[in-house]
Symmetry: C2
Subunit: 342 residues, 2 copies
């Protein structure tokens, strides 16, 4: 086993040099990357930019006892890129602000950066700047991403209209159940350190938790289908919370049919094992990073057969409220029980 290097053994500038060694610039607009007071970026003609920042804090958003640093780096990029996708935009550049406590080594930070690099490759985004400093406590990671959309084509939360179809990509609730599995195995490990975690049967849900993907594929596919969403948001805090945000911004109500909620088999199995209602997991679980969006009802033909898009229901007038429609046809007001860090 190779030796580990304390961060104070090499200093900030040498660390930055090591971290930037593996970085390449792919975007034609990335004129200058890491190494100056700021990056230089030339936006593509005819586009407008989107910009978003997200912070991940150890002990609040992640637990390094079961989240490998490489996965954390990947996820930190994915959750930011997901916000860019939710604007119907494609990511181009990002910067990383990282603070790490004294227990972290150079190798640990390099592992985190390996995850950042992998995600940058996967999403075709350039890491063009960063700030890396010490902290008194744990690890904090703030990423800011820039993206581009054709001018006037960025999609807000506020453009939904009554009768628009309400759609979601992928499936829901898996990330929350993955977290339940990981926390159970952590408890078992803490009670008996000889225990090997039993994750083989839970690969799908654990993957959903530890390594979510931003749905840039959906952004590309909607463009190919000629579908321009009227409103969009990513599902980070649970479907119920996001439907409420979207309806509040659009000034509408919504009808979400519980029987249409997309639930993967491994999610259903894990929910049964944990004695949890899978519909509740989908509505309030969070961290699925799917895209929730609305399209005009006239686009129904274009999307109804898409294997990875589900029509959940439709928007209504505001006065009808924001309801889950049960299998029995009963409306139940949606409530945001989404996650809050405070």
């Amino acid at each position: 086993m190779s030796e580990l290097t304390p961060l104070n053994a090499i200093g900030e500038f040498a660390l930055i040099n090591r971290l930037q060694a593996g970085l390449t610039l792919r975007q034609p607009g990335s004129v200058l990357g890491i190494g100056d007071d700021a990056a230089i970026i030339r936006p593509t003609a005819g586009t407008e930019l989107v910009m978003t920042t997200d912070l991940l804090v150890e002990g609040i958003h992640f637990d390094l006892s079961f989240c490998p640093l490489r996965h954390l780096g990947y996820k930190a990029v994915a959750v930011n890129v997901s916000d860019v996708a939710a604007m119907n935009a494609l990511p181009t550049q990002l910067v990383v602000a990282l603070s790490v406590g004294p227990r972290f080594t150079v190798e640990a930070v390099e592992e985190l950066y390996a995850g950042l690099r992998l995600a940058c490759e996967a999403y075709n985004v350039d890491l063009v700047g960063g700030d890396t400093t010490a902290s008194r406590g744990g690890l904090t990671l703030a990423i800011t991403v820039l993206g581009e959309a054709p001018t006037g084509k960025a999609v807000r939360r506020s453009g939904g209209k009554p009768t628009d179809l309400l759609c979601v990509s992928g499936d829901l609730g898996g990330a929350f159940l993955g977290l339940q599995v990981l926390e159970r195995e952590k408890q078992a490990f803490m009670a008996d350190p000889e225990t090997q975690p039993e994750l083989a049967n839970y690969e799908y849900v654990v993957q959903r938790q530890l390594r979510p993907e931003a749905r840039l594929d959906i952004v590309h596919e909607l463009r190919e289908l000629g579908v321009h969403p009227t409103s969009m948001i990513d599902v980070s805090d649970g479907l119920a919370s996001e439907v409420l945000h979207l309806c509040a911004a659009s000034g509408t109500g919504a009808r979400v049919f519980s029987e249409f909620l997309p639930l993967a088999n491994p999610t259903l199995e894990a929910a049964a094992e944990f004695n949890l209602d899978p519909i509740t997991c989908a509505l309030n679980g969070g961290e699925d990073y799917e895209l929730l969006f609305t399209v005009p009802v006239t686009d129904h033909e274009k999307i109804k057969n898409h294997p990875d898009i589900t029509i959940l229901g439709h928007l209504t007038g505001k006065e009808e409220g924001t309801n889950l429609i049960t299998k029995a046809g009963q409306p139940v007001p949606l409530k945001a029980q989404g996650w809050t860090s405070f």
Copy 2:
């Protein structure tokens, strides 16, 4: 005295609503600010962007026992804007990622935001996005700023040529001496909490430490003078460290004349009182946030009478090294004793 509100009493969304209440958008390019998955920005035609991020961590970069939250907010923006200025660019938008531990109240976060808003007004930059979360420890603040420069006119560290004049704005060493004063008063207060801090005689250096200003005025004035710097960097870690960075990037050496180092009278007085060499404070003190830049020697006439720009010396061939020239005419190699957080 009004009551203080714990953060968990109002939750993340209500907090964000309160924080964004006082924000206005001034930049024509700010199409959409806080409240969606991302901000929307329309870059000015004919410009390229610069982007930079900086992280301030409690206990590492600031001490809330003597740094008021409002000043911290202002400084956090100023140090980022300083990086934009160092590219010869003007700031346009920024996003703020903030994590705060359980001892902070809603009112404390609002006070921090008041400082952010003041700085946004002062530098004509729009706060267009943010993420605010809990932490297990103290306060961490990451700001990412976008700026604009006419295409091809952003100035890097790497464009300096031998014979170029090496110039610096303002004066040096004050922020470091301000920190010495503040730390001395903190020790006195901890020894005897009845002590009132004696800061009246140190107003200038304390201000340099607690409320530095980014030198956007210099960027504007150089444009007005028709001077285009060949290289530029901001002085955050001490002059010596920055001269070395600039020379390394430009592939040059430099001669910096110690007698030309700009030292304000309050800095000289405080240095004498603390028995510190003011030249050492200027070279290695850090946090002055002045601009260090080079101009062709043919621009000498244009800048020689500028009241707030000092010509420190000039660049040389790399083989001559990077030297401080003492009053006696002796070259002494510059060493980076700049601050590192690790």
